[in-house]
């Protein structure tokens, strides 16, 4: 297998310890939980998405375990501004605050809260199950550009996380780039649904939700590949990554680093586990891998 020479990574203006990041919304609700993930070898951690007001999220069930993935509709539960306090235990650590809002102004307001306490901001323009937020905004190029610009103006490294639930993800990527984004994160979950045939109703309280985990990996690779062909800013791969080979694969598609969410389920130390086979001192520099499948 291809291995990478270890070393710090600069991804979209943020210095991270390795290529493996914790994805937003997975074990990212408290400072303690984020600290634990860093101690287990995550190169950086992305927080649960934080919004302008506290939110309890959707009624349950919020998550269903499928054979090859997960379906979730948490509904963006978050403590809002109170969360900033959580990060006090993480001073100086590579933490990226995921934020959401319903307008450019809300995005800017929430981002502002985190000034000085995080390494960067990730805009959640992609959650498929929160009315008026997430992909509701993230599928409109002009709104994406406006929300991105509102945050990049604040001068923090800014990543924009994209939804795959659009006709053409490159249109959205280009809008974020125009808005000044430092990097793109692809992808958030894929809009999906399962129904309990026993109860005759959708298995999620919110009815539809987002598919994550192994099932969506081929969609993530495709999205990263398409974005790499059309955008110049770095791309962080996300979606269904659960092995070192998956990480290499999505880097070959064009990702400079990866975010891992669902795979934490089978192995809470997934970062260490992957790093063990991903890195070796005689590995090749990651720049020789990123995007190499395009030649």
């Amino acid at each position: 297998m291809v291995t990478i020479r270890p070393g710090p990574v600069n991804a979209g203006g943020i210095q991270i310890a390795n290529h493996l990041l914790l994805a937003a919304g997975v074990l990212g609700t408290t400072g303690a939980s984020l600290t634990r993930m860093l101690s287990y070898g995550a190169g950086a951690v992305v927080t649960k998405s934080i919004g302008p007001l506290p939110k309890d999220g959707h009624v349950g069930p919020c998550l269903a375990v499928l054979d090859d993935g997960f379906l979730n509709a948490m509904g963006l539960p978050n403590p809002s501004k109170e969360f900033v306090e959580e990060l006090s235990v993480l001073k100086g650590k590579p933490v990226i605050a995921s934020i959401y809002g319903g307008s450019p102004e809300e995005f800017a307001m929430v981002a502002e809260w985190f000034k000085g306490s995080v390494a960067g901001i990730e805009l959640n323009l992609s959650c498929p199950h929160a009315e008026g937020y997430g992909s509701a905004i993230g599928s409109d190029p002009s709104l994406v550009e406006a929300c991105t610009r509102a945050v990049t103006k604040l001068g923090m490294p800014t990543w924009v996380k994209l939804t795959p639930n659009v006709t053409d993800i490159t249109e959205i990527g280009k809008a974020a780039e125009k808005g000044g984004a430092d990097a793109l994160v692809a992808i958030n979950t894929v809009k999906a649904m399962r129904i309990s045939t026993g109860l005759g109703r959708p298995v999620l309280g919110n009815r539809s939700g987002g598919l994550s985990g192994k099932a969506i990996f081929p969609i993530s690779v495709r999205c990263v590949y398409e974005l790499y062909e059309t955008c110049k800013i770095p791309i962080i791969g996300c979606g269904g990554i659960s092995s070192a080979d998956n990480a290499i694969e999505i880097m070959m598609a064009g990702a400079v680093a990866v975010e891992i969410g669902s795979a934490v389920y089978s192995d809470v130390r997934i970062f260490e586990t992957i790093a063990k086979t991903l890195y070796s001192d005689d590995g090749i520099p990651s720049k020789d891998i990123v995007g190499c499948a395009h030649e």
């Binding site: 408290t30 939980s33 506290p54 026993g198 109703r201 669902s262 809470v268």
Partner: protein
């Protein structure tokens, strides 16, 4: 401590964790506010493990297994009220069993407050519990008295003194020689549990005590982070719900927990 993440049904190991529809086959009124619901699918489980119970149209909530095929529920809000509205023959769906269970000792002391008796009942029935301290607000709220009396040395406390000693269940502790037990297992209101932890810590046996925590849970499987405790970041749903006293002693336990939004609320 065994973590069963696969559902075992009638000996067959199912890695499928998709919600399993079960039919309610029995409803027993345990106390004016507590009912046991039994269903048609028994689960292989360790006492302390829980199911995520989906009350159709209402919510999904964590519930300890009080036996292989039952849960014992206190009505406190929407979802539990939803359960109380169900009749025999109605269907719910469950995922699990999730989490760890109590570590098995040989001479155990069990301490239960209110509906906290639910996960401890199967432990007592498995004949591992020497002494069982059972507390409730009042006599009619005491759970499983006959069953527990048969298999353990049962001691009772009620807040109003209507049965047993008057006061919180923790007062019963003062008359016991805690050193005689190789394990102290506790489930109940968190303030009560914190008091117990204080007492076992006083005599230095907190590492022999275990507490079944009840935290707000969304996913139940260790992904979402809504049940994580400070400062370890451990997930109550997956690394727990049973956690050892020495791990809890320097934690948020008994002080605050988090609500659905993740905000802290004082206990």
């Amino acid at each position: 401590m065994m973590v069963s993440l696969q559902r075992t049904l009638w000996g067959a190991l199912m890695s499928n964790q998709f919600p399993l529809t079960v039919t309610i086959t029995g409803i027993r009124e345990e106390t004016p506010t507590v009912r046991s619901f039994s269903f048609d699918s028994p689960f292989e489980f360790d006492p302390g493990q829980f199911l995520m119970v989906w009350v159709p149209g209402v919510d999904e909530i964590p519930m300890a297994l009080s036996s292989a095929d039952s849960i014992t529920v206190q009505k406190v809000g929407d979802a539990t009220a939803g359960l109380f509205n169900l009749k025999i023959g109605d269907k719910i769906a469950v995922r699990g069993p999730f989490g760890n269970g109590f570590f098995k000792g040989e001479r155990m002391l069990a301490i239960a407050g209110g509906v906290g008796a639910a996960p401890l009942l199967p432990l007592a029935l498995a004949d591992r519990v020497m002494t069982f301290l059972l507390g409730a607000r009042t006599e009619t709220e005491l759970l499983f008295v006959d069953q527990l009396d048969e298999c353990t040395d049962l001691q009772i406390a009620t807040d109003d003194g209507s049965l047993g000693v008057q006061g919180f269940v923790t007062v019963l502790l003062d008359d016991l020689n805690l050193g005689a037990y190789d394990k102290v297992v506790v489930c109940g209101p968190e303030l009560m549990m914190r008091t117990v932890l204080g007492k076992v810590a006083e005599i230095g046996i907190e590492h022999r005590s275990e507490f079944a925590l009840q935290r707000y849970m969304k996913c139940g499987i260790g992904l979402c982070g809504s049940c994580c405790i400070d400062p370890s970041g451990l997930r109550v749903c997956r690394d727990g719900p049973v956690l050892s006293g020495d791990l809890l002693i320097k934690s948020e336990f008994g002080q605050y927990m988090r609500d659905a939004s993740g905000r802290k609320k004082t206990i």
